[in-house]
């Protein structure tokens, strides 16, 4: 039975180090190749030894696909390609290709400059890695090889983020990467067509969360910033996620313009500045509003926001707004968790007074002068949106990039929903709060098209295996099909052998070949390997390959050959004429295989030339030329060449 196997090496039931191996139709694809921001040793990268034990990496993997430029999705890429030794193709969208090296350089800077790591990938390695990248356009079907094809869909989340459909034959998997179904100030909503994959691998970061209205959060944010600035204070917004920085810049820029504020806004001259360059370039990837107005004004050409110089920095305060989660081991984490004593780079010690409980997210910092606020501006799909990917109508769903307990809860809710309406008011299930349970119920209800198969999740290292029933195109004559359908043979696939008895997509042949009296048989398609044929013997239908059908029916494959007669004036014998033809063609067609066969005929590739005597004129020889339609061009050329006559023998 054909199967799809999925093994997360990272981000199975956690966030960070996204790396998922998919095996589909004999092809192996790696989805994302991220780093974990919580570790600074070997554990920061996925454990690739589980792939290398299968032999050479480049032989084992058919391609790597990167969903977007965030480091938890691409941070291990130079290590994987230049240090572990993957030499195959890497697919990503153009904006991702442009911005990825900026983030990788920044990551390298932190590792090498700040943490003093010696054995880290170099700038040259980043460049060499980026040279292996093949850029893909949205909705463009990219043929990785004859059998494997991929297609990118818009994912929102950050500039250039894409969901990918991976398809081999009739089997397919969709990987969402990180996505956002709600358009924000610079990006549109994720969209995918009804591609009905066997498996949808979707992120579930906010699987059980339905976040507050974005408008409210933005209003709150602007209010806080405005109040502080009005009081003559400063606001520091350490944005660690690219994309979110641009979103906040647009938010502030628009607000400044509307309120006609004069206070300067600066952004740090690093990552954001470099990335802004590409944000200005890739306008087609932004939302409709920005695309419409960019001729008058490119929204990323900020009027009020200027580049920041470190020299401007003096004392901090009085407000810090953290627009995202910080990992343990960082100053940001300490500030967010309300710690009062900080030592940064061994230079500064900031003492904060005793404060109200940090759970209020409002601890003052530096003698009551500084406030710290945490406000999520994450660009992930929340519970409602997670379900919207149901528009792809997947057969099965695998949740990744989230927490196991929440995934399990979500699964339970969705299963309840698919059976019947959820029971109202039931809460505090599985250790979750009432609010959480309500959110999950909301999610389950929102899932308009629940998966027909299973909703799955797998820990890192765990393999999920799905048996599939691939659609196999079948060539069959219309008459036979109608007759057998009338007899009810097709309903239960009675008497069919093999694993192919799944979905049958009958092909009506335009010119069915005559079938033997007692056997159903259809025209041979051009690519026998890709198609199966029903044969009926002893009142039984069986599905077999074209070759097998021919063999069992004792038939030979039809061949179509063009023929032509060329008259040559030549008094010699036929054999000598043939020899002259051979010598002539050999000298003219150096790049082709010209052969003189023992029976006197001459072949050039599939073209056969025989010399015969003219029935009426002994001084004329007739060249009988025949060729298959594959060599039609060469055949025509040869005919015209021979019509010009043979060179005089020396």
């Amino acid at each position: 039975m054909p199967e799809i196997r999925v093994t997360p090496l990272g981000a199975g039931q956690d966030v960070g180090r996204s790396c998922i191996l998919v095996s589909i139709g004999g092809k192996n694809v790696m989805l994302d190749c991220g780093m974990h921001m919580g570790f600074s040793d070997d554990r920061r990268f996925p454990d690739f030894s589980y792939i290398t034990r299968n032999g050479r990496l480049t032989d084992f993997l058919d391609c790597v696909i990167i969903s977007h430029f965030h480091l938890d999705h691409c941070g291990a890429l130079p290590y994987f390609s230049e240090m572990v030794g993957y030499d195959g193709p890497i697919y990503m969208t153009q904006p991702t290709q442009a911005i990825c090296p900026i983030l990788l350089e920044d990551y390298r800077k932190i590792a090498v400059d700040k943490k003093g790591e010696a054995n880290f990938f170099t700038s040259q390695m980043i460049k060499d890695c980026m040279k292996k990248v093949v850029a893909v356009h949205l909705h463009q079907t990219v043929q990785v090889d004859d059998e494997l094809e991929i297609k990118a869909y818009y994912a929102g989340h950050v500039l250039g983020a894409a969901m990918f459909q991976i398809k081999v034959g009739s089997e397919s998997v969709v990987y969402t990467g990180d996505y956002n179904m709600t358009p924000d100030r610079h990006l549109g909503a994720a969209w995918i067509d009804k591609c009905r994959p066997n498996l949808l691998i979707t992120e579930s970061t906010y699987a059980t969360t339905i976040r507050d209205s974005k408008r409210c959060r933005e209003r709150d944010f602007l209010k806080k910033v405005h109040e502080t600035v009005e009081r003559g204070g400063k606001v520091l917004i350490p944005v660690f996620a690219l994309g979110r920085a641009q979103e906040l810049c647009i938010l502030l820029e628009t607000f400044w313009e509307r309120m006609d504020l004069k206070a300067p806004i600066y952004f740090s001259t690093g990552l954001t500045e470099k990335a802004n360059h590409y944000y200005k370039l890739f306008i087609p990837w932004t939302n409709q509003k920005i695309r419409k107005t960019f001729v008058q004004r490119n929204m990323f050409e900020f009027k009020h926001i200027k580049a920041f110089d470190r020299a401007f920095a003096d004392s901090p305060g009085p407000m810090v707004i953290m627009p995202g989660y910080c990992v343990q081991g960082t100053v940001g984490h300490k500030i967010l968790s309300g710690q009062r004593k900080l030592e940064m780079e061994g230079r500064q010690v900031v003492i904060t007074p005793t404060l109200p409980p940090p759970a209020l997210w409002n601890p003052c910092w530096a003698a009551g002068v500084m406030q710290v606020e945490y406000m999520s501006f994450s660009a992930h799909a929340d519970a409602r949106a997670s379900c919207s990917c149901g528009q792809a109508e997947p057969e099965n769903v695998l949740l990744v990039h989230g927490e196991a307990k929440k995934m399990s809860f979500l699964k339970q809710k969705i299963e309840q929903n698919s059976v019947g309406k959820p029971r109202r008011g039931r809460a505090c299930e599985g250790g979750f709060s009432r609010a959480c349970a309500d959110r999950a119920r909301h999610l389950a209800e929102a899932l308009s098209t629940p998966p027909r198969g299973q909703l799955l999740y797998a820990a890192n290292g765990e393999t999920v295996t799905l048996s599939t029933s691939p659609s196999i195109p079948v060539g069959i004559s219309l008459g036979l099909l109608k007759r057998e359908m009338a007899q009810g043979m097709w309903a239960g696939h009675a008497g069919w052998g093999g694993a192919a008895a799944g979905q049958v997509a009958p092909q009506t042949a335009p010119a069915p070949a005559p079938a033997p009296a007692s056997q159903g048989y259809s025209r041979m398609p051009r690519s026998p390997g890709s198609c199966r044929h029903p044969i009926m013997k002893d009142s039984n239908f069986r599905l077999v390959s074209s070759e097998q059908a021919l063999k069992e029916l004792g038939l030979a494959e039809h061949q179509l050959r063009f023929t032509c007669r060329v008259h040559l004036h030549d008094t010699r014998k036929e054999q000598e004429t043939a020899l002259r033809v051979y010598s002539h063609l050999k000298s003219v067609l150096k790049d082709h295989c010209v052969q003189h066969l023992p029976d006197g005929s001459v072949t050039v590739e599939s073209i056969l030339i025989q010399a015969a005597a003219h029935s009426e004129d002994p001084s004329t020889k007739v060249l009988l030329v025949s060729w298959t339609y594959q060599d039609e061009e060469l055949g025509s050329y040869l005919t015209s060449l021979l019509k010009k006559g043979l060179p005089q023998a020396s």
Binding site: G38, K115, K131, D145, D146, T330, K334, S337, A459
Partner: protein, 831 residues
């Protein structure tokens, strides 16, 4: 343990066992375990537990929790294993009941026995199973542990975990079995136990019997598991008992070869090679027969890795090596046969004639054909580089095969057989094979070949460089292979110039290079520039090359690429022009007869890039070029050395990229070394010379350093916010201090210098006010300040990573405690 950590630990343990408190992310627990590992490795675990009873309490409480959280349970299992690694602590945990928890019992059996998590709902979480295995792995260090494992029935559970759905768990289970086997065979059993196993310890006997059963199994996964356990065993354990083990198991392994198809062939190959590499291999003649038999039984794709492994072995019968080499050559022999215009032996050794099985593989499917070819090419590439590669090495047929494959891929080969026609259809445009074949062809440049073949090699390379169908990656590899062949080509006997064939090829290559430098694809332009840099580095002095290059438009185009929209390309163009200029090949309309004009213009242009380019890569490249020019004593740089250094340092000091500033210090160090000599003799046998510079010279040098504002640059860099810059500056100033100190400072001769302004500036810079200039400097004042500074102390401080405070265990414990109650909606928030 640090007293502060000891103080924080009880609170943390309380948080971990409290089901209402969300646990900080997995990374915290991992880091906590890392810390406990270092603590237990540094001192007695028993003492640690006695001084911190909260730890045992934690283990008990987690165990007794109604619904333990998987990650905390996993953490506890691993923690218990770490403690129990020391025998006294192991015994303590075996018998010690909890002091305050109502339930009592022996802790370790409760954790790892059948009554523990094994039977609970949490066992379904892979992290718990993994923690259980890792805990046992840490624990299994002493004989007591073996008895414990036997008593609690752990070994049977490990057997079952070999087939776990999680790769990580299954792999850990296999490794643990090997570890237990090695532990059991250590001590009294060590030596030469009988193969029958009657004198083997019970635990070892049990494991070996399980392996035997698995090898006899008809289920391939079980066979694979057994083979993997044995592979690790023979790879890691080299004691004499492994010989007995092989004697006992080799008949079963041999039986696998009789099956059709051979089960778990990949694992079987790994095992045989592992045995062959171990001491067992040298003592068992039967092994070579098994290897030979395996080679002939496996399919060409399966046999490839085994053949390569055999050829890598040091001591191995020649016949077996010949057979293995034949296996590797088969696919290429098939290609040669398919491509041969006229019948005749392809020139490979006997045994590699393109057998029918290989042909069948080629014909079976496109992916099989491509896979086999790529594998063969990669294996032969590896082999070519090894000292023990087969001799004589069939260089000529290999070259012919590589060329034929590349022609098949390119569609320029004329097949003469069905197989040839099939190969043509399958390989046409196949990037994967093109990459592999070009890599292989490049490696073959280490050897020679008949001129006719070398001409074919260059012809096919030129085809690829010219073809519009070549993908950027293929093009890059084609450039790399071309470079290797060019640099490996023989010199003309008469002089050290290039031979006529190479010159001829250059004539064809340079127009292609020129075209590629104009490619719309940045990868192609960049690969072209990288090639140009390398070839110029090696051939810049060759008259024929110089002539051909100057006659082409390549140098001018390279100059134009300094303004390429792609920063990677600009950086490569900087490196290339720098290299061309070093050889006087950076062409301008004035021609090579006026190098000073060009040099000035290039220097100015590169300086402009250094000052204005928005991207770091080109600016870094400029600094590399300037440093190299300085090192090489480039005539035009030497003309006004101080002016050159001053301008470059001024631009570098203002750069936002730390690597540019660090490279500026590198250049400053080169300048300093040229003035004062090397930092110290690196040769231990060299005659010791006085390291300090004579005072008169030193005074002049210090004046020069002041003039180029090197001091200001270095002192400012000392307080740079980027650590490597500060570190480099510290090293540079220490070098200067060492050179100046032994001779005494110039200040001894006169009045004490005015150091106030320098010290004030330093304080300002240290406080982060980098904008303040230093103004005119007196060398004496600088030296006095340097002498007073604790540069060694600063260097020690800089050696620590910027997050060393955050990485400390104390910080970790504080963070974990601080997050209690504040982990809410933001916990899952991320990028």
């Amino acid at each position: 343990m640090d007293p502060e950590c000891s103080r924080l630990l009880p609170a943390l343990c309380a948080v971990l066992v409290d089901p209402r408190q969300p646990v900080a992310d997995d990374t915290c627990l991992e880091k906590l375990l890392d810390w406990f590992k270092t603590v237990t490795e540094a001192g007695p675990s028993l003492l640690l537990l006695q001084e911190n009873p909260c730890l045992v309490e934690l283990l008990f409480r987690v165990l007794k929790a109604h619904d333990p959280r998987p990650r905390v349970l996993s953490f506890s299992l691993r923690l218990a294993g770490l403690f129990a690694a020391q025998e006294d602590c192991f015994q303590y945990l075996q018998v010690t009941p909890s002091s305050s928890v109502s339930q009592q019992g022996e802790l370790l059996p409760m954790l790892f026995g059948e009554s523990g998590p094994l039977g609970g709902a949490a066992w379904t979480a892979p992290t718990v199973r993994s923690g259980w295995l890792q805990g046992l792995r840490s624990l299994a260090q002493h004989p007591g542990a073996l008895r414990f494992l036997a008593d609690c029935g752990a070994v049977d559970t490990i057997f079952s975990l070999q087939g776990d759905s999680s790769l990580f768990v299954a792999s850990a289970a296999g490794q643990l079995l090997v570890h237990i086997l090695a532990l059991a065979m250590r001590g009294p059993a060590e030596g030469h136990p009988s193969p029958q196993g009657c004198d083997w310890p019970a635990c070892a006997q049990k494991i070996v019997c399980h392996v035997e059963d698995s090898l006899r199994s008809t289920a391939t996964p079980q066979v694979t598991q057994a083979l993997n356990v044995l592979t690790t065993t023979f790879g890691h354990c080299h004691s004499p008992w492994t010989q007995g083990l092989w004697v006992r198991l080799s008949p079963l392994v041999a039986c696998l070869l009789e099956k059709d198809p051979i089960p778990a062939s990949h694992s079987l190959v790994d095992l045989l090679l592992s045995v062959a590499r171990s001491p067992v291999g040298s003592s068992d003649c039967g092994l070579w027969e098994t290897l030979a038999q395996t080679l002939s039984h496996l399919s060409p794709t399966q046999a490839g890795p085994l053949a390569l492994g055999i050829l890598k072995l040091q001591d191995c019968p020649q016949a077996l090596k010949t057979q293995a080499f034949g296996v590797l050559l088969q696919p290429l022999a098939c290609v040669l046969k398919a491509a041969a215009q006229a019948p005749g032996p392809p020139g490979f050794p006997e045994g590699a004639t393109g057998d029918s099985i290989t042909v069948d593989t080629f014909l079976s499917s496109k992916s099989a054909c491509v896979g086999l070819l790529c594998q063969a090419l990669a294996h032969l590439e590896l082999l070519q580089l090894l000292p023990q590669r087969p001799s004589p090495w069939p260089q000529a047929p290999l070259l012919r095969a590589a060329v034929a494959i590349l022609r098949f891929c390119h569609g320029s080969a004329a097949p003469t057989s069905d197989v040839g026609g099939h190969l043509c259809a399958v390989l046409a445009g196949c990037v994967r094979v093109q990459r592999a074949a070009l890599d292989f062809l490049g490696t073959l440049s280490q050897g020679t070949g008949p001129q006719e073949l070398v001409t074919q090699v260059f012809a096919v390379l030129l085809e690829y460089l010219t073809s519009p169908d070549s993908s950027p990656m293929v093009l890059k590899k084609a450039f790399q292979a071309t470079l290797r062949w060019l640099l490996g080509s023989p010199k003309a006997p008469s002089c050290c110039d290039l031979d006529p064939h190479t010159q001829l090829f250059l004539g064809e290559l340079l127009p292609v290079l020129r075209k590629r430098l104009c490619s719309p694809c940045w990868e192609a332009r960049d690969s072209g520039l990288e090639f140009l840099t390398q070839v110029t580095r090696h051939w810049g002095g060759q008259a024929a090359f110089r002539h051909a290059l100057l006659a082409s438009e390549v140098p001018e185009l390279t100059g134009q690429l300094l303004r390429d929209p792609e920063s990677y390309v600009r950086a490569s163009a900087v490196t290339a022009t720098g290299q061309l200029s070093s050889w006087g090949l950076y062409a301008t309309p004035t021609g090579p007869e006026h190098p000073e004009v060009q040099q000035e213009s290039l220097f100015t242009e590169l300086l402009h890039i250094l000052s204005t380019d928005s991207e770091g890569f080109p600016r870094r490249a400029v600094m590399h070029v300037f440093t190299q020019w300085l090192k090489d004593g480039h005539a035009d740089v030497a003309e006004d050395l101080e002016q050159f250094v001053a301008r470059v340092l001024q631009a570098a000091s203002q750069d936002l990229d730390w690597e540019v500033r660090a490279q500026g210090l590198e250049l400053a160090l080169v300048f300093l070394e040229q003035l004062l000599g090397q930092p110290g003799s690196r040769c231990p046998y060299a005659v010791a010379l006085p390291e300090a510079a004579p005072p008169a010279t030193l005074a002049q040098v210090l004046q020069a350093l002041c003039r180029v504002q090197l001091f200001e640059f270095a002192l400012r860099a000392l307080f740079d916010c980027d650590r490597p810059v500060a570190q480099k500056s510290c090293d540079l100033l220490l070098f200067l201090k060492a050179k100046a100190t032994p001779c005494g400072g110039p200040q001894e001769a006169g009045a004490s210098p005015d150091v106030v302004s320098v010290e004030a500036a330093l304080q300002r810079w240290q406080a982060g006010e980098q904008g303040q200039p230093l103004g005119e400097l007196e060398p004496e004042a600088v030296m006095a300040v340097l002498r007073s500074m604790d540069l060694e102390g600063l260097r020690g401080m800089l050696a620590k990573s910027s997050d060393h405070m955050e990485k400390s265990p104390q910080s970790l414990l504080q963070d974990m405690l601080a997050t209690v109650g504040v982990l809410g909606e933001n916990e899952a928030d991320c990028y």
